[in-house]
């Protein structure tokens, strides 16, 4: 996959516009869903994911290939989303202490039912949304996007130790927020 991307980047740098179309087509869903996971809003995800491609397009001549193209594209997307989340957080002043109250339901014995339960899905989204931006980004990249610690460290420009610390703090906050489910 990496070699294919490098070839496309190389072709685009030589002036072949269609090569960038191929890259956009290949990554549009991943980048859109990444932005959606981070913002939980379709309009924002559409705007930010497209903004990420525009940024990549405009600065690809500075991309030296030290990391893979998708890591670089993820980095741009995550930075845009983090900036957006910080601006939104300032506007909303979200309370991170609020606890989600739930009915005592045994989700563990019926995961299929859990996947379809709207209330549970909304509570999970609310709980993840309440995380501070950096922790939310780390948690999303690890648990929703399935990236490795090393890849996340490269995307966010911090150490693997820092990524693990953020994951631990995020899980602790989620445990607190979802106490009704976890202790039910």
């Amino acid at each position: 996959m990496k070699d294919e991307d490098s070839l496309l980047v190389g072709r685009f740098k030589k002036g072949e516009e269609k090569a960038f179309d191929e890259l956009m087509n290949k990554y549009k869903k991943r980048i859109y869903y990444l932005a959606y996971s981070l913002t939980s809003n379709h309009a924002d995800a559409l705007d930010l994911s497209q903004e990420a491609f525009i940024k990549a397009y405009r600065s690809i001549h500075r991309f030296r290939g030290r990391s893979s193209f998708y890591t670089w594209l993820y980095r741009i997307t995550v930075n845009l989303c983090l900036n957006h989340l910080k601006k939104e957080a300032k506007k909303k002043e979200v309370s991170f202490d609020e606890r989600i109250e739930v009915a005592q339901v045994d989700w563990w014995s019926n995961p299929k039912k859990a996947l379809k339960n709207k209330e549970l899905q909304e509570d999970l989204t609310r709980a993840i949304d309440s995380l501070p931006p950096q922790q939310k980004a780390v948690f999303t990249l690890r648990h929703l996007e399935g990236l490795s610690h090393k890849e996340i460290a490269s995307i966010l420009g911090c150490s693997i130790g820092n990524i693990k610390a953020n994951l631990f703090q995020a899980l602790q906050k989620l445990r607190e927020r979802l106490k009704g489910y976890v202790e039910g």
């Binding site: 030589k14 956009m24 491609f53 600065s59 899905q121 999970l124």
Partner: protein, 171 residues
């Protein structure tokens, strides 16, 4: 027996099953003797299982049909970058060279021996740069390290206070 602090440090690796056999044995030995840590691990395992139940709402196929044409329009609306293969007029080239020199001189002036940004956590630098400057776009490509970006964009007084506050925190 390992400490409760060590257990917290190893927690993510334990939950993800990436501890070595020896570390895992030490970790579980601690849990068998420390009910508080055992309770925390149990709750975090459940939390992790719970968040894995989150499903992603898929977009309809029609959405993707319009996604790329819309993106192409947006790309064409904005002025194109001056890419390497496009001819650059002599005056613009001279102006760009002068600007690059100016940035290089500014960066070298900002670099003082007492300013050791490598001791600062990267996320602090990244956060400060992202929060403080819209010029980040220019530096977003991987050719610049967070330390370089910070030195180019953040006033030196602010960097000094960042270093000071970070040192205070680590004491």
């Amino acid at each position: 027996m390992i400490s409760c602090r060590k257990v917290k440090k190893w927690m993510v690796d334990y939950l993800e099953g990436t501890l070595s056999e020896k570390e895992k044995a030490l970790f579980e030995e601690h849990l068998s003797k420390c009910s508080q840590c055992a309770q925390e691990v149990k709750a975090l395992v459940k939390t992790q299982r719970l968040v894995r139940l989150k499903v992603r709402e898929e977009m309809p196929e029609g959405f993707w049909t319009h996604y790329l044409p819309r993106l192409r329009r947006r790309l064409e609306e904005k002025p194109l970058p001056r890419l390497a293969w496009r001819p650059v007029p002599a005056l613009a080239l001279a102006t760009a060279t002068a600007l690059v020199l100016l940035v290089v001189v500014a960066i070298s002036l900002l670099r003082t021996p007492s300013l050791n940004l490598e001791n600062l956590p990267r996320e602090v630098l990244v956060e400060e740069v992202m929060a403080s400057n819209s010029e980040l776009d220019y530096f977003i490509a991987e050719s610049f390290e967070p330390e370089e970006i910070a030195q180019a964009l953040i006033p030196q007084e602010m960097l000094n206070s960042l270093i000071d506050s970070n040192q205070e925190l680590s004491l």
